[in-house]
Protein backbone atom coordinates (compact mmCIF):
# COMPACT_ATOMS: atom_id res chain seq x y z
CA UNK A 1 0.00 0.00 0.00
CA UNK A 2 1.28 3.50 -0.76
CA UNK A 3 2.85 5.53 1.99
CA UNK A 4 2.93 9.32 2.07
CA UNK A 5 4.29 11.93 4.45
CA UNK A 6 2.08 14.85 5.39
CA UNK A 7 2.88 18.08 7.20
CA UNK A 8 -0.21 19.26 9.10
CA UNK A 9 -0.68 22.72 10.57
CA UNK A 10 -3.47 23.04 13.12
CA UNK A 11 -5.14 26.39 13.72
CA UNK A 12 -5.40 27.18 17.46
CA UNK A 13 -9.06 26.09 17.82
CA UNK A 14 -8.37 22.69 16.26
CA UNK A 15 -5.30 21.80 18.26
CA UNK A 16 -7.15 19.40 20.55
CA UNK A 17 -9.14 17.50 17.93
CA UNK A 18 -8.42 13.71 17.80
CA UNK A 19 -7.84 13.66 14.05
CA UNK A 20 -5.58 10.60 13.93
CA UNK A 21 -8.40 8.57 15.54
CA UNK A 22 -10.70 9.51 12.69
CA UNK A 23 -8.06 8.71 10.07
CA UNK A 24 -7.84 5.18 11.50
CA UNK A 25 -11.49 4.59 12.31
CA UNK A 26 -13.27 6.32 9.43
CA UNK A 27 -10.74 6.04 6.60
CA UNK A 28 -8.85 2.84 7.36
CA UNK A 29 -5.50 4.65 7.24
CA UNK A 30 -2.40 3.77 9.28
CA UNK A 31 -0.91 7.01 10.60
CA UNK A 32 2.58 7.07 12.09
CA UNK A 33 3.32 10.31 13.93
CA UNK A 34 6.88 11.31 13.13
CA UNK A 35 6.71 14.45 15.18
CA UNK A 36 4.11 16.62 16.79
CA UNK A 37 4.01 19.91 18.59
CA UNK A 38 0.52 20.56 19.82
CA UNK A 39 -0.43 22.85 22.67
CA UNK A 40 -4.07 23.65 23.47
CA UNK A 41 -5.02 27.12 22.31
CA UNK A 42 -1.94 27.53 20.10
CA UNK A 43 -1.09 26.65 16.54
CA UNK A 44 0.06 23.04 16.27
CA UNK A 45 2.14 21.11 13.79
CA UNK A 46 2.37 17.41 13.09
CA UNK A 47 4.32 15.35 10.59
CA UNK A 48 2.47 12.14 9.76
CA UNK A 49 3.42 9.19 7.67
CA UNK A 50 0.21 7.72 6.33
CA UNK A 51 -0.18 4.27 4.80
CA UNK A 52 -3.38 3.27 3.03
CA UNK A 53 -5.27 2.86 -0.22
CA UNK A 54 -5.26 5.82 -2.61
CA UNK A 55 -8.99 6.59 -2.32
CA UNK A 56 -8.90 6.31 1.47
CA UNK A 57 -5.88 8.61 1.54
CA UNK A 58 -7.65 11.23 -0.58
CA UNK A 59 -10.80 11.04 1.56
CA UNK A 60 -8.69 11.32 4.72
CA UNK A 61 -6.92 14.42 3.44
CA UNK A 62 -10.30 15.95 2.45
CA UNK A 63 -11.53 15.26 6.01
CA UNK A 64 -8.47 16.95 7.52
CA UNK A 65 -8.95 19.99 5.31
CA UNK A 66 -12.63 20.17 6.17
CA UNK A 67 -11.53 20.38 9.82
CA UNK A 68 -9.52 23.51 9.02
CA UNK A 69 -6.16 21.77 9.06
CA UNK A 70 -3.61 22.90 6.48
CA UNK A 71 -2.25 19.78 4.77
CA UNK A 72 1.01 19.93 2.84
CA UNK A 73 3.33 17.22 1.63
CA UNK A 74 6.09 16.78 4.21
CA UNK A 75 9.76 17.05 3.43
CA UNK A 76 11.07 13.92 1.83
CA UNK A 77 14.71 14.77 1.56
CA UNK A 78 17.34 17.11 2.85
CA UNK A 79 19.59 19.25 0.67
CA UNK A 80 23.18 19.78 1.63
CA UNK A 81 25.05 22.74 0.19
CA UNK A 82 28.45 21.14 -0.15
CA UNK A 83 30.13 24.47 -0.87
CA UNK A 84 29.03 25.76 2.52
CA UNK A 85 29.45 22.54 4.53
CA UNK A 86 32.74 22.31 6.43
CA UNK A 87 32.06 18.75 7.69
CA UNK A 88 32.05 19.86 11.31
CA UNK A 89 29.54 17.18 12.26
CA UNK A 90 27.31 19.34 14.45
CA UNK A 91 24.24 18.09 12.57
CA UNK A 92 25.15 14.51 13.49
CA UNK A 93 25.21 15.52 17.17
CA UNK A 94 21.53 16.46 17.13
CA UNK A 95 20.24 13.74 14.80
CA UNK A 96 18.55 11.38 17.23
CA UNK A 97 17.40 8.82 14.65
CA UNK A 98 21.00 8.59 13.40
CA UNK A 99 20.13 9.52 9.82
CA UNK A 100 23.11 11.88 9.50
CA UNK A 101 26.52 10.44 10.24
CA UNK A 102 30.10 11.17 9.34
CA UNK A 103 31.98 8.32 7.77
CA UNK A 104 34.84 6.70 9.71
CA UNK A 105 37.46 9.28 8.77
CA UNK A 106 35.06 12.19 9.02
CA UNK A 107 35.55 13.07 5.36
CA UNK A 108 31.98 12.59 4.21
CA UNK A 109 28.53 13.35 5.58
CA UNK A 110 26.22 10.40 4.97
CA UNK A 111 22.42 10.78 4.92
CA UNK A 112 20.27 7.69 5.45
CA UNK A 113 16.87 8.75 4.16
CA UNK A 114 15.07 5.78 5.71
CA UNK A 115 16.05 6.78 9.23
CA UNK A 116 15.12 10.49 8.87
CA UNK A 117 11.95 11.70 10.60
CA UNK A 118 12.32 15.24 9.21
CA UNK A 119 12.49 16.81 12.65
CA UNK A 120 14.60 19.67 11.22
CA UNK A 121 17.02 19.57 14.15
CA UNK A 122 19.92 19.46 11.67
CA UNK A 123 18.58 22.47 9.78
CA UNK A 124 18.55 24.50 12.99
CA UNK A 125 21.86 23.18 14.30
CA UNK A 126 23.96 23.69 11.17
CA UNK A 127 26.23 26.69 11.92
CA UNK A 128 26.80 27.17 8.19
CA UNK A 129 23.09 27.10 7.27
CA UNK A 130 24.07 24.48 4.70
CA UNK A 131 21.09 22.16 5.25
CA UNK A 132 17.60 22.77 3.91
CA UNK A 133 14.60 20.50 3.61
CA UNK A 134 13.29 19.63 0.20
CA UNK A 135 9.80 18.50 -0.76
Amino acid sequence: MPRKRLDLTFPPRQATKPVTYHLVKDFDLVPNILRAQIHPGQEGRMVLEVTGRKEDFEAGVAFLESEGIVVKPAATDICLDEEKCVLCGLCTAVCRPGALTLNGRGDELVFDKDKCVYCEACVVACPRRAITLSF
Binding site: T92, R96, R128
Partner: protein, 390 residues
Protein backbone atom coordinates in the same frame (compact mmCIF):
# COMPACT_ATOMS: atom_id res chain seq x y z
CA UNK B 1 69.39 10.81 17.67
CA UNK B 2 68.68 14.46 18.35
CA UNK B 3 68.36 17.09 15.61
CA UNK B 4 68.68 20.85 15.87
CA UNK B 5 66.33 23.48 14.46
CA UNK B 6 69.10 24.60 12.08
CA UNK B 7 69.65 21.07 10.77
CA UNK B 8 65.94 20.64 10.10
CA UNK B 9 65.68 24.03 8.37
CA UNK B 10 68.71 23.22 6.21
CA UNK B 11 67.00 20.02 5.11
CA UNK B 12 63.79 21.98 4.33
CA UNK B 13 65.69 24.56 2.26
CA UNK B 14 67.59 21.87 0.34
CA UNK B 15 64.37 19.97 -0.32
CA UNK B 16 65.56 16.92 1.62
CA UNK B 17 63.25 17.24 4.65
CA UNK B 18 60.91 14.36 5.45
CA UNK B 19 57.56 15.80 6.45
CA UNK B 20 54.55 13.79 7.64
CA UNK B 21 51.19 14.77 9.09
CA UNK B 22 50.53 13.78 12.72
CA UNK B 23 48.27 10.95 11.53
CA UNK B 24 50.91 9.65 9.13
CA UNK B 25 53.62 9.91 11.78
CA UNK B 26 51.56 7.94 14.33
CA UNK B 27 51.02 5.24 11.71
CA UNK B 28 54.74 5.08 10.91
CA UNK B 29 55.69 4.97 14.60
CA UNK B 30 53.22 2.15 15.19
CA UNK B 31 55.01 0.18 12.46
CA UNK B 32 58.71 0.90 12.98
CA UNK B 33 58.78 2.18 16.55
CA UNK B 34 59.16 5.70 17.95
CA UNK B 35 62.96 5.94 17.76
CA UNK B 36 63.16 4.78 14.16
CA UNK B 37 60.29 7.17 13.23
CA UNK B 38 62.12 10.00 15.04
CA UNK B 39 65.26 9.25 13.04
CA UNK B 40 63.46 9.16 9.71
CA UNK B 41 61.16 12.19 10.01
CA UNK B 42 62.13 15.86 10.33
CA UNK B 43 58.81 17.68 10.69
CA UNK B 44 55.29 16.65 11.68
CA UNK B 45 52.38 18.87 10.70
CA UNK B 46 49.22 19.34 12.78
CA UNK B 47 45.91 21.04 12.09
CA UNK B 48 42.59 22.03 13.58
CA UNK B 49 39.40 23.65 12.28
CA UNK B 50 36.79 24.45 14.90
CA UNK B 51 34.73 27.46 15.98
CA UNK B 52 37.08 29.95 17.66
CA UNK B 53 35.12 32.92 18.99
CA UNK B 54 38.16 34.91 20.08
CA UNK B 55 39.18 35.92 16.55
CA UNK B 56 39.04 39.02 14.41
CA UNK B 57 40.83 41.30 11.99
CA UNK B 58 42.69 44.60 12.15
CA UNK B 59 41.79 46.81 9.19
CA UNK B 60 43.09 50.12 7.85
CA UNK B 61 40.81 51.77 5.29
CA UNK B 62 42.99 54.65 4.12
CA UNK B 63 41.85 58.28 4.22
CA UNK B 64 38.92 59.86 2.40
CA UNK B 65 38.91 63.46 1.14
CA UNK B 66 38.09 65.35 3.27
CA UNK B 67 39.23 62.86 5.92
CA UNK B 68 37.21 61.45 8.81
CA UNK B 69 38.21 60.30 12.27
CA UNK B 70 35.88 57.31 12.46
CA UNK B 71 34.39 56.91 15.92
CA UNK B 72 31.42 54.69 15.07
CA UNK B 73 32.03 52.18 12.31
CA UNK B 74 29.87 49.51 10.69
CA UNK B 75 30.66 46.99 7.95
CA UNK B 76 27.51 45.54 6.38
CA UNK B 77 25.71 46.77 9.54
CA UNK B 78 28.12 44.93 11.85
CA UNK B 79 29.80 47.24 14.33
CA UNK B 80 33.59 47.37 14.34
CA UNK B 81 35.60 48.98 17.13
CA UNK B 82 35.73 52.76 16.88
CA UNK B 83 38.29 53.44 19.58
CA UNK B 84 41.45 53.27 17.49
CA UNK B 85 43.16 55.84 15.25
CA UNK B 86 41.14 57.64 12.53
CA UNK B 87 40.80 54.86 9.95
CA UNK B 88 41.96 51.79 11.89
CA UNK B 89 39.51 49.31 13.33
CA UNK B 90 39.21 45.87 14.84
CA UNK B 91 36.34 43.69 13.72
CA UNK B 92 35.57 40.77 16.03
CA UNK B 93 33.97 37.62 14.63
CA UNK B 94 31.19 37.43 17.24
CA UNK B 95 29.79 40.94 16.70
CA UNK B 96 26.23 40.62 15.40
CA UNK B 97 24.58 42.58 12.63
CA UNK B 98 22.15 45.27 13.78
CA UNK B 99 19.79 44.25 10.97
CA UNK B 100 20.19 40.48 10.61
CA UNK B 101 21.01 39.37 14.17
CA UNK B 102 22.94 36.14 14.55
CA UNK B 103 22.45 35.17 10.92
CA UNK B 104 25.18 37.63 9.96
CA UNK B 105 28.08 38.94 12.00
CA UNK B 106 31.73 39.87 12.05
CA UNK B 107 32.71 36.38 10.88
CA UNK B 108 30.42 36.71 7.85
CA UNK B 109 31.93 40.11 6.95
CA UNK B 110 35.40 38.53 7.08
CA UNK B 111 34.23 35.60 4.95
CA UNK B 112 32.70 38.02 2.42
CA UNK B 113 35.91 40.05 2.25
CA UNK B 114 37.97 36.87 1.78
CA UNK B 115 35.60 35.83 -1.01
CA UNK B 116 36.40 39.10 -2.80
CA UNK B 117 32.98 40.66 -2.17
CA UNK B 118 32.46 44.38 -1.60
CA UNK B 119 31.36 45.34 1.91
CA UNK B 120 29.47 48.52 2.84
CA UNK B 121 31.51 50.73 5.15
CA UNK B 122 29.69 53.40 7.09
CA UNK B 123 31.23 55.59 9.75
CA UNK B 124 30.31 58.58 11.84
CA UNK B 125 32.32 61.19 13.68
CA UNK B 126 31.85 64.48 15.52
CA UNK B 127 34.33 66.20 13.16
CA UNK B 128 37.55 67.97 14.08
CA UNK B 129 39.77 70.60 12.45
CA UNK B 130 42.06 67.95 11.04
CA UNK B 131 39.28 65.44 10.30
CA UNK B 132 36.31 67.58 9.24
CA UNK B 133 34.09 64.87 7.72
CA UNK B 134 31.29 63.66 10.02
CA UNK B 135 29.85 60.82 7.94
CA UNK B 136 30.99 58.42 5.26
CA UNK B 137 29.09 55.77 3.29
CA UNK B 138 31.15 53.73 0.84
CA UNK B 139 32.06 50.24 -0.32
CA UNK B 140 35.37 48.45 0.25
CA UNK B 141 37.00 45.22 -0.88
CA UNK B 142 39.88 43.37 0.74
CA UNK B 143 42.24 44.46 -2.04
CA UNK B 144 41.42 48.15 -1.36
CA UNK B 145 42.52 48.06 2.27
CA UNK B 146 46.02 49.08 3.31
CA UNK B 147 46.44 46.51 6.05
CA UNK B 148 44.14 43.64 6.84
CA UNK B 149 45.44 41.05 9.24
CA UNK B 150 44.04 38.50 11.60
CA UNK B 151 44.80 39.06 15.23
CA UNK B 152 43.11 36.25 17.09
CA UNK B 153 43.53 36.45 20.88
CA UNK B 154 42.61 32.82 21.53
CA UNK B 155 42.88 30.01 18.99
CA UNK B 156 43.94 26.36 18.90
CA UNK B 157 42.76 25.37 22.37
CA UNK B 158 44.82 22.54 23.79
CA UNK B 159 42.03 20.00 24.29
CA UNK B 160 38.45 21.00 25.00
CA UNK B 161 35.45 19.92 27.02
CA UNK B 162 33.03 17.17 26.07
CA UNK B 163 29.62 18.73 26.66
CA UNK B 164 26.54 16.93 27.98
CA UNK B 165 23.33 18.17 29.56
CA UNK B 166 21.81 16.49 32.61
CA UNK B 167 19.00 19.04 32.94
CA UNK B 168 15.36 18.67 31.94
CA UNK B 169 15.44 21.03 28.98
CA UNK B 170 17.20 21.43 25.63
CA UNK B 171 20.19 23.78 25.84
CA UNK B 172 21.51 25.84 22.93
CA UNK B 173 25.19 26.42 23.60
CA UNK B 174 28.42 27.24 21.83
CA UNK B 175 28.89 23.46 21.91
CA UNK B 176 25.74 23.04 19.83
CA UNK B 177 22.31 21.82 20.87
CA UNK B 178 22.55 19.66 24.00
CA UNK B 179 19.63 17.33 24.50
CA UNK B 180 18.24 16.83 28.03
CA UNK B 181 18.93 13.81 30.26
CA UNK B 182 22.36 13.20 28.68
CA UNK B 183 20.67 12.87 25.27
CA UNK B 184 23.86 13.63 23.36
CA UNK B 185 27.47 14.71 23.81
CA UNK B 186 29.45 17.15 21.67
CA UNK B 187 33.21 17.62 21.52
CA UNK B 188 35.47 20.13 19.85
CA UNK B 189 39.05 19.13 19.18
CA UNK B 190 41.05 17.66 16.33
CA UNK B 191 42.37 15.10 18.85
CA UNK B 192 45.58 13.47 17.65
CA UNK B 193 45.85 16.05 14.84
CA UNK B 194 45.50 19.04 17.17
CA UNK B 195 48.55 21.37 17.36
CA UNK B 196 49.00 21.77 21.12
CA UNK B 197 48.13 18.13 21.89
CA UNK B 198 51.17 17.18 19.81
CA UNK B 199 53.50 19.39 21.84
CA UNK B 200 51.83 19.22 25.23
CA UNK B 201 54.48 21.09 27.22
CA UNK B 202 55.14 23.76 24.55
CA UNK B 203 58.72 22.72 23.83
CA UNK B 204 58.62 23.82 20.20
CA UNK B 205 55.60 26.13 20.02
CA UNK B 206 56.09 29.63 21.42
CA UNK B 207 56.09 33.33 20.56
CA UNK B 208 57.39 33.73 17.01
CA UNK B 209 56.60 30.20 15.80
CA UNK B 210 55.74 30.22 12.10
CA UNK B 211 52.33 28.67 11.59
CA UNK B 212 49.34 28.34 9.26
CA UNK B 213 46.40 30.68 9.98
CA UNK B 214 43.25 30.45 7.86
CA UNK B 215 45.29 29.55 4.78
CA UNK B 216 47.93 32.24 5.27
CA UNK B 217 51.43 31.99 6.72
CA UNK B 218 51.37 33.58 10.16
CA UNK B 219 52.93 33.58 13.59
CA UNK B 220 52.20 32.77 17.18
CA UNK B 221 52.01 36.31 18.60
CA UNK B 222 51.71 35.49 22.28
CA UNK B 223 50.15 33.01 24.66
CA UNK B 224 46.43 32.96 23.99
CA UNK B 225 43.94 34.40 26.46
CA UNK B 226 42.95 31.95 29.23
CA UNK B 227 46.16 29.96 28.58
CA UNK B 228 46.18 27.50 31.46
CA UNK B 229 49.21 25.21 31.50
CA UNK B 230 48.31 23.92 34.97
CA UNK B 231 45.41 21.75 33.89
CA UNK B 232 45.47 18.13 35.06
CA UNK B 233 47.63 15.99 32.76
CA UNK B 234 47.94 12.30 31.89
CA UNK B 235 51.07 10.11 32.01
CA UNK B 236 52.23 11.53 28.65
CA UNK B 237 51.90 15.10 29.94
CA UNK B 238 48.81 15.68 27.80
CA UNK B 239 46.14 17.86 29.47
CA UNK B 240 42.80 16.15 30.18
CA UNK B 241 40.76 19.35 29.85
CA UNK B 242 41.10 22.79 28.15
CA UNK B 243 44.65 24.04 28.82
CA UNK B 244 47.02 26.05 26.60
CA UNK B 245 45.95 28.50 23.89
CA UNK B 246 47.62 30.60 21.19
CA UNK B 247 47.24 34.21 20.14
CA UNK B 248 47.96 34.27 16.41
CA UNK B 249 48.59 36.83 13.71
CA UNK B 250 48.56 36.50 9.91
CA UNK B 251 48.01 38.47 6.71
CA UNK B 252 44.31 38.29 5.89
CA UNK B 253 45.06 39.07 2.23
CA UNK B 254 46.75 35.68 1.90
CA UNK B 255 43.99 33.78 3.75
CA UNK B 256 41.25 31.76 2.10
CA UNK B 257 37.59 30.89 2.55
CA UNK B 258 38.76 27.27 2.34
CA UNK B 259 40.20 27.67 5.83
CA UNK B 260 37.95 30.33 7.37
CA UNK B 261 34.19 29.90 7.62
CA UNK B 262 31.61 31.99 9.45
CA UNK B 263 29.39 30.13 11.88
CA UNK B 264 26.04 30.94 13.44
CA UNK B 265 25.29 28.79 16.45
CA UNK B 266 21.54 28.71 17.04
CA UNK B 267 20.57 30.22 20.37
CA UNK B 268 24.14 31.35 20.99
CA UNK B 269 25.42 33.65 18.28
CA UNK B 270 28.08 34.22 15.67
CA UNK B 271 31.48 32.57 15.68
CA UNK B 272 34.01 31.47 13.07
CA UNK B 273 35.72 28.28 12.09
CA UNK B 274 39.40 29.13 11.92
CA UNK B 275 41.98 26.79 10.44
CA UNK B 276 45.22 26.64 12.42
CA UNK B 277 48.18 24.46 11.52
CA UNK B 278 51.46 24.18 13.40
CA UNK B 279 54.60 22.38 12.22
CA UNK B 280 56.49 20.53 14.92
CA UNK B 281 60.17 19.66 14.45
CA UNK B 282 61.06 16.11 15.46
CA UNK B 283 63.97 17.22 17.64
CA UNK B 284 64.28 14.03 19.69
CA UNK B 285 62.52 10.86 20.81
CA UNK B 286 60.62 12.62 23.59
CA UNK B 287 58.90 14.86 21.04
CA UNK B 288 58.41 11.87 18.76
CA UNK B 289 56.68 9.94 21.55
CA UNK B 290 53.93 12.55 21.94
CA UNK B 291 53.66 13.01 18.17
CA UNK B 292 53.00 9.27 17.92
CA UNK B 293 49.98 9.41 20.25
CA UNK B 294 46.67 8.51 18.65
CA UNK B 295 43.04 9.32 19.47
CA UNK B 296 42.99 6.23 21.69
CA UNK B 297 45.77 7.73 23.85
CA UNK B 298 44.25 11.21 24.33
CA UNK B 299 41.37 11.89 26.70
CA UNK B 300 38.96 14.74 27.32
CA UNK B 301 36.77 15.45 30.33
CA UNK B 302 32.98 15.28 30.13
CA UNK B 303 31.38 18.39 31.66
CA UNK B 304 27.73 18.88 32.53
CA UNK B 305 26.53 22.05 30.78
CA UNK B 306 23.18 21.52 32.50
CA UNK B 307 24.71 23.21 35.54
CA UNK B 308 24.96 26.89 34.64
CA UNK B 309 27.94 27.78 36.77
CA UNK B 310 31.58 28.70 36.17
CA UNK B 311 32.72 25.30 37.41
CA UNK B 312 30.59 22.68 35.74
CA UNK B 313 30.63 19.20 37.28
CA UNK B 314 33.04 16.78 35.59
CA UNK B 315 31.36 13.47 34.79
CA UNK B 316 34.44 11.45 33.83
CA UNK B 317 36.95 11.07 31.04
CA UNK B 318 36.68 9.58 27.57
CA UNK B 319 39.21 9.10 24.78
CA UNK B 320 38.92 10.71 21.37
CA UNK B 321 38.74 7.22 19.88
CA UNK B 322 35.61 6.59 21.98
CA UNK B 323 34.17 9.98 21.03
CA UNK B 324 34.75 9.26 17.34
CA UNK B 325 33.14 5.81 17.63
CA UNK B 326 29.78 7.59 17.94
CA UNK B 327 28.90 6.56 21.49
CA UNK B 328 30.41 7.15 24.91
CA UNK B 329 29.33 5.98 28.33
CA UNK B 330 28.46 8.64 30.89
CA UNK B 331 27.17 7.65 34.33
CA UNK B 332 26.35 4.19 33.02
CA UNK B 333 24.32 5.58 30.13
CA UNK B 334 25.19 5.18 26.43
CA UNK B 335 25.31 8.67 24.97
CA UNK B 336 25.55 9.42 21.21
CA UNK B 337 28.36 11.81 20.29
CA UNK B 338 28.86 14.39 17.60
CA UNK B 339 31.85 16.61 16.79
CA UNK B 340 31.93 20.37 16.27
CA UNK B 341 35.48 20.59 15.00
CA UNK B 342 35.94 19.36 11.43
CA UNK B 343 38.26 16.37 11.21
CA UNK B 344 38.27 16.53 7.42
CA UNK B 345 39.42 20.16 7.42
CA UNK B 346 42.02 19.51 10.13
CA UNK B 347 43.47 16.78 7.92
CA UNK B 348 43.38 19.12 4.89
CA UNK B 349 45.26 21.80 6.88
CA UNK B 350 47.94 19.36 8.08
CA UNK B 351 48.36 18.18 4.46
CA UNK B 352 48.52 21.76 3.12
CA UNK B 353 51.13 22.74 5.71
CA UNK B 354 53.11 19.61 4.81
CA UNK B 355 53.04 20.76 1.18
CA UNK B 356 54.21 24.28 2.14
CA UNK B 357 57.21 22.85 3.97
CA UNK B 358 58.11 20.28 1.34
CA UNK B 359 57.40 22.28 -1.82
CA UNK B 360 57.52 25.93 -0.85
CA UNK B 361 60.43 25.50 1.60
CA UNK B 362 58.41 26.97 4.48
CA UNK B 363 61.01 26.88 7.26
CA UNK B 364 60.37 26.59 10.98
CA UNK B 365 61.08 29.34 13.52
CA UNK B 366 62.47 28.53 16.94
CA UNK B 367 60.36 30.36 19.56
CA UNK B 368 61.66 33.77 20.62
CA UNK B 369 60.00 33.28 24.00
CA UNK B 370 58.37 30.17 25.42
CA UNK B 371 54.68 30.05 26.33
CA UNK B 372 54.00 29.93 30.09
CA UNK B 373 54.93 26.41 31.17
CA UNK B 374 53.17 23.96 33.52
CA UNK B 375 53.73 25.26 37.04
CA UNK B 376 53.73 28.89 35.91
CA UNK B 377 50.75 31.25 35.72
CA UNK B 378 47.33 29.67 35.46
CA UNK B 379 43.93 31.16 34.83
CA UNK B 380 42.12 33.31 37.40
CA UNK B 381 38.37 33.69 37.86
CA UNK B 382 36.56 37.01 38.03
CA UNK B 383 35.20 37.59 41.51
CA UNK B 384 32.31 39.97 42.07
CA UNK B 385 33.35 42.44 44.78
CA UNK B 386 33.02 46.06 45.82
CA UNK B 387 35.69 48.75 45.66
CA UNK B 388 35.97 48.66 49.46
CA UNK B 389 36.53 44.90 49.51
CA UNK B 390 39.40 44.92 46.99
Amino acid sequence: MAKTWDEINERIVSGAAVVLTAEEFAELAAGVGVSEAAARVDVVTTGTFGPMCSSGVMLNFGHSDPPIRMSRITLNDVEAYGGLAAVDTYLGVTQQSSTRGIEYGGAHVIEDLLAGKAVRLRAWSSGTDCYPRTEIDTWVRLQDLNQAYFFNPRNAYQNYAVAVNSSERVLHTYMGTLLPHLGNATYCSAGALSPLLNDPTYRTIGVGSRIFVAGAPGFVAWEGTQHNPNQQRDEHGVPLAPAGTLAVIADMKRASTRFFAAASMTGYGVSAFVGIGVPIPVLDEEIAATLALTDADISATVFDYGVQRRSRPALGQVTYAELRSGTIEVQGKKVPTGPISSRAKAREIAAELKRWIAEERFTLAEPLKPLPQPGEQGVKPLEIRSEEAI
